[in-house]
Symmetry: C2
Subunit: 898 residues, 2 copies
Amino acid sequence: MGKLVYDFTEGNRDLRDLLGGKGANLAEMTNLGLPVPPGFVITTDACRHYLTAGSMPDGLDDEVTAHLSRLEEAMGRKLGDPADPLLVSVRSGAKFSMPGMMETVLNIGLSDESVLGLAKQAGNERFAWDSYRRLIQMFGKTVLGIEGEAFEHAIDAAKKAKGTKNDLDLDAADLSEIVETFKGIVREHAGRDFPQQPREQMDLAVGAVFQSWNADRAILYRRQERIPTDLGTAVNIVAMVFGNLGMDSGTGVAFTRDPGTGQQGVYGDYLQNAQGEDVVAGIRNTVPLQDLEGIDKAAYDQLMQIMQTLETHYRDLCDIEFTIERGKLWMLQTRVGKRTAAAAFRIATQLIAQGLIEDDEALTRVTGAQLAHLMFPRFDTSGGVNKIATGISASPGAAVGKVVFDSARAVELAARGEHVILVRRETNPDDLHGMIAAQGILTSRGGKTSHAAVVARGMGKTCVCGADELDVDSKAGRFTASGGVTVSEGDVISIDGSSGAVYLGEVPVSSSPVVRYFEGELDPASAEADELVQAVHQIMGHADARRRLGVYANADTGDDCARARRFGAAGVGLVRTEHMFLGERRQLVERLILADDDAARQSALDALEPLQRGDFTEILEAMDGLPVIIRLIDPPLHEFLPDLTDLSVKVALAGQDATDKDKKLLDAVRRLHEQNPMLGLRGVRLGLVIPGLFAMQVRAIAHAAADRKKAGGDPHPEIMIPLTAAVQEFEVAREEAEKVLAEVAAETGTHVRTLVGTMIEVPRAALTAGQIAQTAEFFSFGTNDLTQMTWGFSRDDVEGAFFSRYIDLGIFGVSPFETIDADGVGRLVSIAVEEGRAARPDLELGVCGEHGGDPESVHFFHKVGLDYVSCSPFRVPVARLEAGRAAVLTAEGGSDSR
Amino acid sequence: MGKLVYDFTEGNRDLRDLLGGKGANLAEMTNLGLPVPPGFVITTDACRHYLTAGSMPDGLDDEVTAHLSRLEEAMGRKLGDPADPLLVSVRSGAKFSMPGMMETVLNIGLSDESVLGLAKQAGNERFAWDSYRRLIQMFGKTVLGIEGEAFEHAIDAAKKAKGTKNDLDLDAADLSEIVETFKGIVREHAGRDFPQQPREQMDLAVGAVFQSWNADRAILYRRQERIPTDLGTAVNIVAMVFGNLGMDSGTGVAFTRDPGTGQQGVYGDYLQNAQGEDVVAGIRNTVPLQDLEGIDKAAYDQLMQIMQTLETHYRDLCDIEFTIERGKLWMLQTRVGKRTAAAAFRIATQLIAQGLIEDDEALTRVTGAQLAHLMFPRFDTSGGVNKIATGISASPGAAVGKVVFDSARAVELAARGEHVILVRRETNPDDLHGMIAAQGILTSRGGKTSHAAVVARGMGKTCVCGADELDVDSKAGRFTASGGVTVSEGDVISIDGSSGAVYLGEVPVSSSPVVRYFEGELDPASAEADELVQAVHQIMGHADARRRLGVYANADTGDDCARARRFGAAGVGLVRTEHMFLGERRQLVERLILADDDAARQSALDALEPLQRGDFTEILEAMDGLPVIIRLIDPPLHEFLPDLTDLSVKVALAGQDATDKDKKLLDAVRRLHEQNPMLGLRGVRLGLVIPGLFAMQVRAIAHAAADRKKAGGDPHPEIMIPLTAAVQEFEVAREEAEKVLAEVAAETGTHVRTLVGTMIEVPRAALTAGQIAQTAEFFSFGTNDLTQMTWGFSRDDVEGAFFSRYIDLGIFGVSPFETIDADGVGRLVSIAVEEGRAARPDLELGVCGEHGGDPESVHFFHKVGLDYVSCSPFRVPVARLEAGRAAVLTAEGGSDSR
C-alpha cells in the first residue's frame, strides 16, 4: 500500500476519495492560510484494508507515530503529557457527508494524571474535568459500545442532587465525581477499565471510526442516499481547541449565504463556552451569528473575512464550523453547503452574475429533483396554520383530506368522491387499496424506505412517514399529536410531503410560480416574476442550449399535448390509444369483444374508427409540425370488461334472474380471462389475432393526417407497434399498416410520410434488435414493461408486496421502476441501441417508459446514445434540465448525476 | 453468377445444395454406370435468382441450349422433331424431399405434329395420343394454373360414353378426341392456346417449377418440416423413357430393404404399361415387386443387382423409381429412403454388422424423436380392431375414452373420473378446458399446425387431427365415419396419435418393449428381446460412450428418482419441493398462510419440516452417490388456496350462513391475490419475505442428508434458489442457507458437503450472471420461465390463444416452449454460460426446463457448453441419445440435428 497518512499541509480538496470530505477541506483551508488546528488524515485506503482484512495495514502504526510527532512538535506539547497534555480529536470523514452517522471522539489524551496538568495549564479546573468526562462518555459510547443512557442518567442524577437543570451549574468537584461514576460505568459495561494510555485511546478510537462505516444506521443511510458501500471513511486527527474555556470562548456554525433562499448575509448560530456537540445537542440556546459582533468584534470580523475567502475560493455556498478559544478563531470544518431547491437555482445564477462560475457549471449546481420539487403545488401558509407534527418527507406533494384509519374505509369514502388521508402506525401490503384510494398517507413509524414511503413514491402519492410524535390508535379511530391535540376519523388534515409538516384542518393549496412560468402564465421578465423564476428561466435556457437529447412527452389528448408543448416537449413520444377506449366508448369495445361473427366485429370497429380519427386529428393539430408517435392498442381486451370475480358473484346471486346480457358477458369474461394478463394476448399479438383491429387504428391515423394536411397543417404521425418480440411479428403488422396507409393515400389523394416502428419492451426484442431494425424505422424503449420482464416481476403485484423489504435488504437502492437498472435492463437497452443502429444507421431511438422523466435515468439514456426521452408533460422540464446536465457532465468526463 | 446448368455426368451426390436431392442422386447413379436416361440440371442458384429478381438469370438460356444440344446428340433425336421427337420431363428437385409439394411436367416436346411422329416411331398410336393428353393435362395444371377437375371430368365423360371404367379401354381415337377437348379447356381457362413450340413448353415448365417453390402448400410444408424457406429448387430435364409403350413396359418403386422393419428382401410395387403418375394416382392396382421376376426376369435380375449396388454405395436403405421401356430398365430416381422409427434402429445396427458403417455414423442414422416414438404405449391390434378413419398423427400416444363433443361436457365427465376423447370439427381457444380434461383430441379439420395439434403437442396429449372422412355434428352429439358408422356421445373410441388411426371401441394398450428394456424388465441378451431392443441397446451404449453432456432427471419422489436412475439418469437436476405440499399437506400450507402471528407461522413450518425431511431422505436414498438438486419452494403461496372467484361466489351465495373459516379464507385469498402470479411473490422473493420458510426446507434437507450419511449412505444434496434476478437476492438466501447447514452440522455432528446455487430463469439473472457466479456454485437454466419472460408471454395464457396462428404466420417454426429459441432465449443462455464461467471456472452448468428433453435443444445445450441436461425420467433415454448424436455431429463439424 502507498502512503496511508497525510498531513493537512500535504492534502487538498481534490483528494476527497482518499482523505474524505472533511480531511480534504481541512487541508484546503490549511493551504489557504486559514487558521486550522494542525492535524493529519488516515486515508480511506487504510479503512478499506481494515474492513476487509480485519486488521490495520502494515506500516500504518509507524506513519501515525511520525505524523503525531510532527503534530506534537508544531504544538510544543506531547499527547497526554501529564504536565501539559496535547489533546486531539479523532473524527470520521467520508467522501460523502453522512451527518450524524459516523463517530467522533474528542479530548483524546486525557487521563487521571493529565487532567490535572490540563487544569493547571488552562487555569480552569472545571474545564479540565468537563473535558475528561466528555472523553470517557464519548469513548465509552463510540469505542466500547456502551449505551449512552447509562452516562446520561449519571449526569441527570448529579444535576438532580444539585437541584439544577443547567450543565454549567455543575462545578469541578461535581464533574470530578461524575468522572469517577463514568469510570465505574465503563468497568461495569465494558468489562475493562477506561484506558489511561493516550496512544491506546487514539488507536482504539481510529479502529472504532473505521468500524462505524459498517454500523447498521450508516449502511441504511448509504442505501437511502445511494452512496456506494465500499468507499470507507478517512480519520482526521486534529489538535483540540476549546470553545469551553470560558465566556471568551465558544463554538458556532455559519453559512456564506442563506441556505434557504441564497441571499448573501450573515447566517449561523453561536454558543459561548461550549464545544460543538453542545450546539448539536441543543442543551442551551444558541444566539444568532450576528450577535458575535457584539461579543467578540475581532473574531467576528475575521470570520466574515474568511467566509468571503471561502466562498470565492469554492465558488459556492459553504457551511462552516468554527471554535473561538479565548478570543482566537479556529476553523474546524468547511464544505459546500446543502441548500433548498429554490436556493440552489438562485445561488447558481447569482454566482454567474458575480462572475464566479460559468453557465455550464451552474447547470451542475442544480438538479432535476430540485426542479421537480419547485413544481409541486404548495401549501399557502400565509393565512396561518396549525402544525401538529413533523414527520419525514417521504413522497412530495400537498394533500388535504379526511382522516381514515383503515383501507376499507378509505376505499368506501373515496368511492363517494371524498378526499381522504390514510393514517396508519405503519402500512403493509394489505393497505394497498387504501393507499390507492387516498390523497395522501401519513404514518407514525418507519423511515424513507418504509413500506408506506416506497409504495407512495411508486404511486406518486403524497406521503409523510415516521411522524413519531403521533400516537395512532386505529381501533379507537383517532390519533393524538404531541401537543395533546386529538384527531378523529373524519377530521380534515393537510400533509406536506416535501417538508414533512402535518397541519390540522384544510390548508389552501397554491400552484407553484415555476409551473406558472412553464405554463406561460408568468413572464420571467415581468415584475411579477421573482428571482427564483428568473433563475429557473436562465438555467433552463442554458440546459436547452447544451442538451443533445430531445425531450418528448407522453400524452393522450389534445389538451395534454398542448400542455406538453408549452412545457417544452419537441414531440409526443407515446400516444396510448387504449386510453381513448374508456368512458362511454367502452361499450363499443364490449361490442367488439362480444361480436359473434365477422360482420358484428367489423361493425363495432367501424363505429370506433371515426372517434379515433377525431382523437388523432386533435392531437396532430396540437403538435403541428412535430412528431407524434402513436402506439396501437396494447392491453388485453378483457381489461375493458367487468372483473371476473365481481361479475361471477353478481350472476350467482341473481340466480334465475340473471340477465341474458350478464350471462353472455360472463361467458366472454371467462373465455378471455388470463392467468397473467401482462404476459397474455396483448400488443402486437392482439393485432395479429383480431382481424381488422390494427387496420382500423391505422386507417384512423392516416385519415386524421390527411385531414390535417388538407387543412394546411403539417402532421408527422408515426405508427408504433407494441410488444414486438420477434421481427416476424413486426413484419406482419407493418405490412398490414403499410397497406392501409397506401389505401388511404389513394383514397384521399394525400400522402403523409408515416414512419412505422416498434416498442422495445420485451427482452427478446432487445436481444434480436439487429433483426428488427432491418424493417422497423424507429425503436421506442418501453422500460416499464422491459423492467417487469427482465426482472420477472409485475409492478402491480410486487411493489407493495416486497419492495420496501428489498430496499431494506439492499437488493435495490431504489425501485427499478423509478430509476433504470443499468446492469440488467440497461444492458438490454445498450445491446438494442448498438445492434439496432448497426443494422440501420438512421434508426430513431427513444424511450417512453416512466424512466424518461427520472433524472438519473436521463443521464443513462444520454450516455447510451438515445435520440430522445419521452415522459409525462409535467416531467418535461425536469428531463430538459437533466439532459442539459448530462451533456455538461459527460463533456467533463464526469458521470455523477447527483 | 457461375455455372447454372450441370449435365448428370458433371454432378455427384454431394451437390445437393446446388442440384437438389433428385439431381444430385441422378448424377451419382450416372457416374456409377447405372442406366439413367441422359439429362441435365438447372441449379438452385438459378431458381433463387428467378424468385428474387423475377426473371431468369442472364446466360441461363444459352447454357440450357448448349446442354439440350448435347442431350439431343446423345439421344440422336431433336426435341419435338415432328418426325422422331425427343421428349423430356421437367422435374423439380429441392435439397430436402417435399413429396407431392412441387411440380413435374412429363412428355415435353409433343405437339399436334410430333404426336404423329411419335406414333410412327413407337409403332403405337394409342401410346402417342395418351402421352400427348398427359402433357396437355399436366402442363395445363402446372404451368397454366388450370384446375385439375376440368381435365378429369373430360376423361370421365369419355369413359362414360364408352361405357368403361378403365383408362386402358380408351383407344387412340378416343384419346385423340380427348386431346382436342383438353386443348379447348386450355383455351377457355388460360385464355391462350396450348403452346406448340417444344422449347417454349420447356421454358414455361422450368419457370412453373421455380414458382412452385412459393406455392402455399409448399410454404406450409416447409414451415411444418422446418425446411429453410430460401433454398429454392433445382430443375431436372431428363430424356423421357416410357413405361406405357405396352405390356413389355411398366414402372415401379422399390426399397432396398423393408422401410417398416429394416428386413432385407424385395419390397416394392410394379405396374405394367403405365407411367409413374399412374402408380401414385392408384388408378389401377399394382403388383408386388416380386411378380416382376415372372414378367421380365432379365429386368428383374438387373434391378436386384442395381439395388445391391446402391445400398452398398449409399450405405443405407435407398428407395428407387424405375421404368422399363420395352424390356430395357431405366433408373429415374433414388434417394436414402424414409423409414419407421423401428426400422431406423434396426437398419443402423444391421449396417454396422455388415461393416458398411461405423458406430458413430449409426448414431447419426437415428433420432431422439424416433426413440421417443418407440417408447409410447401402443395399441395391441392383435385381437382385431375396427378402424373407422385415419387422420394426421398430430401428437403421439394411444388414447381411449368416451366421445364428447363439447368442452364443458369433457370437464364434467373427467371430473367424475371418466376417460374422454374430445371430438370437434376443429378446436379454438374456448376448448382449452376440454382439451385439458380429455385423454385425447380428435378433429376432422386442420393439419399439423392447427390449433388442436399445436396445443395438444404442447400439453403432451394424444391428438389425431384432420380426419376428414369424419362428419362431425356437435349439436346432434354424433359423428359419422366414411364407412357409414355413426358414433354418438358416450361411445368409446381409441385414437393412435402416432399413426393417425381411429378405432371404434376400446383397443387394449400395451407398453413398449423398448420401455420394458429401459426399465430393466427385458434383458437385451435374452431370447425374449427382439432385434429392435437389441438395436436400441447397442446404439444407446454407443451414445453413452460418445456424449459429453450428462443427463439428469427432474423427479419429485423416491419412485420417480428410482425410475430415472433405471432410465440412465446420472443425477436429479430438479426436485420441485412445492410438489410435496399437495394433497393432505395442503392444509398445513393453508395454516402457514393464515397464521396470525410468528408463533402460528412457526408452528405450521414445524409441522411441515418432518414431512419434508422424509421426502428428501427417500430421494437421497434412491439417488445414493449421485447429485440431487433440490429447488426451494417456488410458486406463490396463494396457489395452495382456493380460487378467488369460486370462493367469492361460495361466500356470496352462503350470505349470512357463510362460515367464519370461509370468510377468513376469502380475506386471505383476496389479500394474496395477484394480477400476474407468474410475476409475483414467488421464488427467492417468497424466501426473503416469509420468515423461516426457506430455513425450514434447508433444515429438512440437511437433516435428511445427515440421516443418510449416518445410515452409511452417500448423499449429494445441492440447494437451488429459484427465480434469482439479482446477486443480492441470492446472497441473502445463501447466507441463511449456509447458517442452517452449519447449525445442523453442529447438531448432528455430521457434515455433508452441500453446494448452493441458483436457477437462471429470469432474463436479468442471465444478464448479470458474472456477478451471480461469484457467489453461486451452480447454475441451472430454467428455460420454461426464461422463455416466458424473454418473450413476454405466459405459456398458460398464450399457447392456446394464438400459437397456432403464429405458427401459420411463420412467426415460429415450432413453439419456443418445445424447442429452445436460439436467437433470444438461447442468447441469454450463452451470455450466462460465458460470463458465469469467466467468474467461476468450475461453475456447474445445467438446464432443468422441459427443453432438456427436446432433441434439437439438447444439441444447442451441447454446443453452448452445459455440463448436463435434466428432463422428465421418460425423456432421459432420448436426451442420452441426442447428447451422443450432438457429440458426433459436432465432431464432424455438422450442426443438423434432423
